[in-house]
Symmetry: C2
Subunit: 361 residues, 2 copies
């Protein structure tokens, strides 16, 4: 599989939903496979909140791509047939313009002053990328979780530039509980003594412990209760392999380990910014979802998972109902998925088959 | 209603489950109503993790008691008929011996060196209290959440000293997810810069921000998703009444407010200790629940709530099944309860009626 990773600079201004403007911006993109002559085989993959542009294959820095089970040669999204593109979203910390980038106006790192981007802003920046790639229509725009919100927004915002959309483990808006959980995570970051109100970059420290706590909480919401129970139960951690002397149970040790690892890699301002974008997205806005979906021309594949309690499958059903009310061609499937919200990341025979058949249909 | 609040000193040693011994200890108790001549009308109420001895009525310091809707004259637990006692549990921070008490051996505050107490230890200390009160059998031992675990443990540990037990919104053991959530809360406390590894008492600071984050998370688990949604939805907070400029949604503001308020009142070491006691309780232990319940003589009233996702009603069903397997007289009821896990705190016609009828039967 041919993998290209490149940083693309866009010198055009991007007007953001929050009212601010980015005078120019960079997008880190990765692509797989070859664009055909008629440019009709392009697929845009949108990443979830802590994801990045590295979808498939392996590289030294980022390891195996986050959707390697689904994207690749002869996989559900077949890179032998399709040209697949993913970009690190604006505000991210994997190469695209974000809090860790230099603000040309000040010559300093943006930090907390990077503007609050939104799902719509991401879709607009991806449209600019699309124009640069001289693609006039995506065959398929797809993502899970926050990525699914982008796929939905693509269908709404650019109905003439997208043929099919895949909205997996997602919702048309975050629930009150989603927002509440994200606020606890943000609070733990903001109150870290090394956060310095978001200006920690020139202090040679990062708010790792806040980020760690935030990720520990995140992990609980990504996994299902059943999976946690079957994997860890109430087993005690071996004394030898404890990451912290205060923990007794294996599940505590696992969360400590996962949280620590994440806190070494991810940027705290990006964490806050990405979760806020997720909280604030509401496809229906004041109009209601039926009205918002009215102009969609793309065909929708909506997938939920029974074990997902972060974005329960009923959220997918709401999108499906609004689609039906608008005579939009759509399919809604619910799979078992043993991995809770994270189920969208893992291949299963029926899940992969559904994606493949939908793309090919 | 006659309310007596008193601090009782016990000069006998209490051997704890963790292997340590408390040479002496204090229990802060509150009681309501009058003990009858035959001492057959005594009810022990056990509090949940952040509760205290102040169950009913109002006082200046602690406000309205946490179970005032259920306990009082002509209420479900009728203080005109019954003598009701509650003690602040060992390890607490409302008067009983705990991390904030003076360790007589060192002359300093116990802090993090207060021994790890357990549900069994609490029940054993309540048995010593019972002996002091010269009561030979409780007519009823009852509690919700961690209080329900104590009621269950009373039935197991002292079958000849309890006639009836009320186990509400509780479980025979915490789930993996319960433990995981508590670990995130503890992590946020331990990593507060003012925690000083539990030795913050002589530093004129308390780890308020960690405690606040912990409580914010707790609150999400106490409420149901439906309640949060109907109460707050995706409404924005008025600019004028924001407790923090970083919050936008009402639900964020609510959690910030609740968390802050709690962090002013509660002790961080107690938070850690109480959640650990909750995590580590397992009525069945290695034997399994059927075997553990074998010698129970009391009649059980087990109540769960559909909207409780912290201790879902299925956990109550597990106790009921084990009780049935042992021919223990028991009733298992599930009520709607709109308040999630907190539903056990609120009176409703059917809930109150069930408690009253069970006590009287």
């Amino acid at each position: 599989m041919k993998i290209r990773t490149e940083l693309i600079h866009f010198s055009e201004a991007l007007q953001l939903e929050c009212g601010e403007t980015l005078d120019s911006f960079d997008l880190m993109i990765e692509s797989y496979g070859e664009l055909n002559e008629s440019k009709s085989n392009a697929i845009l993959v949108c990443h979830a909140f802590s994801g990045n542009h590295h979808v498939a294959g392996e590289n030294k820095e980022l390891g195996i791509g986050w959707w390697d089970q689904i994207v690749g040669p002869k996989k559900a999204i077949d890179t032998d047939k399709y040209y697949v593109v993913c970009c690190n979203n604006l505000g991210g910390c994997a190469g695209s313009s974000g809090p860790t980038s230099i603000n040309k106006k000040t010559g300093k790192v943006f930090g907390k002053d990077f503007p609050q981007v939104s799902v719509s802003d991401w879709v607009n920046s991806q449209k600019i990328l699309m124009d640069k790639l001289e693609i006039s229509s995506w065959h398929f725009v797809v993502g899970g979780s926050l990525g699914g919100m982008q796929a939905l927004q693509w269908s709404i915002a650019y109905p003439n530039h997208i043929k099919k959309a895949g909205i997996f483990a997602a919702a048309a808006k975050s629930s009150t509980q989603n927002i509440a959980m994200n606020e606890v995570a943000r609070e733990s970051i903001r109150k870290d003594k090394n956060f310095y109100d978001g200006d920690y970059y020139d202090k040679n420290v990062t708010p790792k412990s806040g980020l760690k706590t935030a990720r520990m909480l995140g992990h609980i919401t990504y996994l299902s209760e059943e999976l946690m129970d079957s994997r860890f139960g109430r087993k005690f951690q071996d004394e030898d392999s404890k990451v912290d002397e205060d923990v007794n149970f294996e599940v505590e040790n696992y969360l400590q380990y996962k949280g620590s690892k994440f806190s070494e890699l991810f940027d705290a301002n990006t964490y806050i910014l990405m979760t806020k974008a997720m909280d604030e997205y509401d496809a229906g806005n004041s109009k209601g979802l039926d009205q918002a979906l009215r102009n969609i021309k793309s065909e929708l594949l909506i997938i939920g998972f029974y074990s997902d309690w972060l974005y329960p499958y009923q959220r997918g059903k709401e999108i499906q109902i609004a689609a039906m009310n608008n005579n939009i061609k759509s399919s809604f499937l619910v799979f078992n998925g043993e991995n809770g919200h994270d189920s969208f990341l893992f291949s299963s025979k029926e899940y992969s088959n559904a994606i493949e058949k939908f793309i090919e249909s």
